[in-house]
Each structure stands twice: as C-alpha cells, then as structure tokens.
Symmetry: C2
Subunit: 310 residues, 2 copies
C-alpha cells in the first residue's frame, strides 16, 4: 500500500486538475453551471473628484459591484484614502498609458527619463491607444505598470483585478503579453474580454488556463442620445448569456469640473457619464437585473481563486 | 574734444544711474512720486479648475490686475491655454515647492531622481514651507525652479513676474538667493514683500538695485469670519501708503471640487476663497479704490523696466 501512495497522489491531482479545468467559472465560484454572472464595473476612478464622488455614490447605493483606479491621475490619493477606509468595496487598477483630455493631463508614475517612449514632449502620456501601440517600448511599459501597482499597494489599495485604460494593452501582442505577465507576477486577475479579443485572434495564443477571461463585455457607445440609456442597458440585461459578463460604465457628476476635464472632446463627456450614474442607480435597471436572475459578482471572488498575496 | 568723449560718456552714465536710482518706483513707471500703486494679485492659479475659473472671471470683470500660476499642478495646461489666447492679462509664476492638501497632491516638474530632497516618499512635495526649509537642497531647488519656468514658456506663457507659493523661498538665505538668482537669469521681476522681509533681516543683504521690491503686501487672515471681508479690505485700501503695494488674494468657486481639494484643512478653504472673489468683484471694493485715488498696476509694467526677453 505504501508503494502505491505516490501513484494514488498523482491520480488524485490529475483528477482534480481535469475536474477543475472542466468546471465553468460559475461553478468555480459556487454558482450553478449556467448562471448569468455579471460584474457592473466603473472605469476611470481617480481621474477627477467628480468621478470619485460618482463612483463612491454608486458603490454605496449598490449600483456597481466593482471599479478600477487610474493611479497616475491627480485624484488618486483621494480614492486611495477612501479604499483604505472601505475595504468592503471592490477596487482594481485601470492600468494607464494614455491621457486623453485637452487641458487636463497626466504622465506616468515613473519619470520621463525612465519611460521616454510613453510620453509626449510635455511629459504627458499620449492621447490615444494607437500612439501607444506605435511608440511604446514594452520594457518601459512593464516598468510603468509595475510602478502603478506598487504605488497603489503603497497607498493601501489591494487591487482585486487589473484592466487597461482605453484598451492600450490590447493593441499589440507585445503589450498584451506584458499585461498578462504583470498580472501573473502579482497574482492579480486581469480583465480579458473574449468578445473583443476574438476580433484580434493574434492575442488568443497567449491566453491559458491561468487566466479567467470575461466571456462578454458591454459598454455604452460614446455618441448615444441620452433618452436611449434605459433601453440600451435593459437590452443587455435581458439578453445576457450564461457565463462571466461585465458591463463597463463611466461614472461622473455632470458638474463644472467634469465639463472642464472633458472640454472640446466630443465623446465620453460629463453628461454621458452622469447618464451612466443615473442608470445604475435607477429602479428600472435594478429590477431588470432581478427579473432576469442575474448574479452580480465582483472581481474579489475571482481573485480569491488565484490565492493572491495582495 | 575727442579725448574727452570717454570721460563725458562715463559722467552721463553716472548721472543716469544716480538719477534712476533716486527715482521712486512710481516715477519710473510714469506716475507722480507719491502715488499709491497697487497690484491686486491672485495666487494659486492652476491648482484646480475652480481656481482657474474664478481667476478668469476676476480678470474679465476687472477685479484683479495680476495673478500667478503653479506650473506643477494638474490644471496648469488649462490656464496656459487661456493665457496664450488672452495676452492682455498679467500672469506670472507662483514658484511651487509645496503641496499642502490632504488628498490632492503634486510633485515637481523634475523627477524624483532629480530632486530627491524636495519630495516625500510618495513623490509629492512636502506640505509645509518649514519642511522645505529643513530638507531642500538649493541646487535641486534651482533646477526645479528653472524647469517650472521653462515649462511655462514651452506652453506659451510669458511670465510677468515670479513669486513663491507659501513663501518657501523666503524661509532661508540659501533659498532666497536661489530665488533672486533665477529671477535675474531670466530677467523676470521677483516679488519681494519688504514689510515681510524686514522681519527676517538676514535676507536684506541680498536685495540690490536690480530688484524692485514691493513696499507693502497684504493678505486676508486664514481664519477670519466671512462678515469681516468688506471691512478688512476697505481698511487696507483707505490706509494704503504711497509706493508699491500688493494685495494677495486667493480665488476659487466654493464648489464640490474646491471643497474636496481643501478637505480636512482648517484654513484657506473653498468658502474663504469665494469670499475673496466676491470682494474683488463688489462695487464697495471698486469704489473704495476709486475714492482713495489708488493706481492699479500690473507686474507687466514692472517687468518692462527690466527689458526682459521673455
């Protein structure tokens, strides 16, 4: 019997691996196989006081289940202070390599000397993901992403997940690999939206069983008229597929600060963000979620599967 | 006669120097000897959108005659864009070595590797001028001040003057010398408030005829009740001495952004700044200036005496 023990252990491990691999993400998280899981996720936290206030309001009124923070932005310390005092809310990092506004800009956590390929002549990040794709040196990207994570941790944030502001890290295989590598190094789950990634099949080869991809992600179009918000989100909720889903929303109070942040920028404005806030706080949206038997989850539950130290 | 020419030239120069030295600043600027000159000056421009909006409003409604910009702050690009389009208004630089707010911080224009003595462990400036006095390496201070001026010029700002946020550059003889040196190097006048400097006589030896000191500066106390604003400023105006005077005010709109910038900071809050804005726009203040025959001037007129290239 003693001699058989190693063989038995090996078979047990094999069985567990196969079983665990074949389990759906819903089952791994303790839900029925065909559950419709949904993360309601607010991006761009830390950009401005307006965004921070709207995000906090949405958490406290159960309008969202997760959010991600932009560490290089001016209002990062405010949200970090809130996160430390409210560990019950789910905050990840919105890894940032772009600064898209006209008169309100930011650079990296690292200095211009350390990440020259990521910054324009004024020391700010480029405005678009396309410029990042063309100009970014992946070695500098990795250093900057690690610096953003390290800074968040130093400020008392324990990131539940990582994602990518304006999708910069999905623009080239090199940058995508850096993104996965950094997530693995910190054992923090990374957001991989399969419905988007499938349109860029070159990236698929880098996804393996260590990652937990999101089957479908959804986001409001940038130029939609205000009166279509309810219909747009209700359609998503009513047609949600089983599996892991994420709705990405952009919250802000439509006030003078946010109007100035987004000035001369035709899309993604202050009103557009206020519409998202109004929607997730609305009774219509909340009752649509309940009626369609959607299971609202957060990234923390996914992170727990990875046994992260952070 | 030819031989006498150098002697004549020398005498003429001597005469001009003596005459010019003996002229009061009012006379140099084309006013009567005993004129009461006053610069109404708004500090802290660039800190927030709220401060920028209030400062622009005060310029456009003739409530102020000058202002100074904090280059390292998040809203610097917004005000730089405005300055470029409105060269008629008088903007200098509020040289910045401190970041005094709790959850809204900034570091230098230079990186942490270049100015380690100026930054805390998070890469932000220290909160107080006292910490700057103790920790700042004057060589790094000079580099950072030059970087702030160079960045302003690169953004299209032609600074009419330099002054010092929270008075950091008046805290030690070493820092004061750096301040004067940088002003001289760029031929930009530096704000030297004689009524304050006289309380720290060690600084007096560094002031020479190349500088144009301000005889008296005035500023609202940080904890004054709101109903005393009118009296406070009317007293200043009614008792103004002949010579060069400056009232330093702090403008902002008392809104959610500015309340968040100044959160948990007992003094210099959003309401305090709104009170200053209300005062300089008020009919009472404007008629007090007129009644007391105050000549409102800007730093541009002083800068013109220095024949600066910028």
């Amino acid at each position: 019997m003693k001699k058989l023990y190693p063989v038995f252990s090996f078979c047990l491990l094999l069985f567990i691996s196969i079983f665990s691999y074949s389990q759906s993400i819903a089952e791994k998280l303790g839900y029925d196989k065909d559950s419709k899981l949904l993360i309601i996720h607010a991006d761009d936290v830390g950009v401005s006081h307006s965004v921070n206030s709207a995000t906090i309001k949405a958490f406290e009124k159960s309008g969202i289940s997760s959010a991600s923070i932009m560490v290089p932005c001016p209002w990062f310390p405010e949200i970090a202070d809130y996160v430390k005092q409210h560990p019950q809310y789910d905050f990840g990092l919105h890894l940032t390599l772009t600064a898209e506004w006209k008169n309100y800009r930011w650079g990296g956590v690292l200095s211009a000397k350390e990440i020259p390929s990521l910054l324009d002549k004024n020391g700010f990040f480029y405005s678009t993901a396309e410029e990042v794709a063309i100009k970014a040196n992946p070695v500098e990207v990795e250093q900057e992403l690690r610096a953003q994570i390290d800074r968040a941790i130093a400020f008392g944030v324990k990131p539940t997940h990582l994602d990518s502001h304006m999708g910069s890290l999905f623009t080239t295989p090199d940058l995508f690999q850096v993104y996965l590598k950094v997530g693995a190094a910190y054992k923090i789950p990374v957001f991989i939206p399969m419905n988007a990634v499938k349109t860029f099949p070159e990236l698929l080869q880098y996804i393996n069983e260590d990652q937990i991809p999101v089957d479908n992600y959804f986001m409001m179009q940038s130029n939609r008229p205000s009166d279509e918000w309810t219909t747009f989100y209700q359609n998503i909720v009513e047609n949600l597929s089983p599996g892991l889903n994420e709705i990405i929303i952009h919250l802000a109070i439509d006030n003078s600060e946010m109007q100035a942040v987004t000035v001369d920028h035709p899309d993604y404005g202050a009103k557009w963000r206020q519409n998202d806030l109004n929607t997730v706080l609305s009774d219509e949206f909340k009752s649509a979620l309940a009626k369609n038997n959607i299971k609202i989850i957060s990234w923390k539950e996914i992170k727990d599967l990875l046994h992260s130290d952070y």
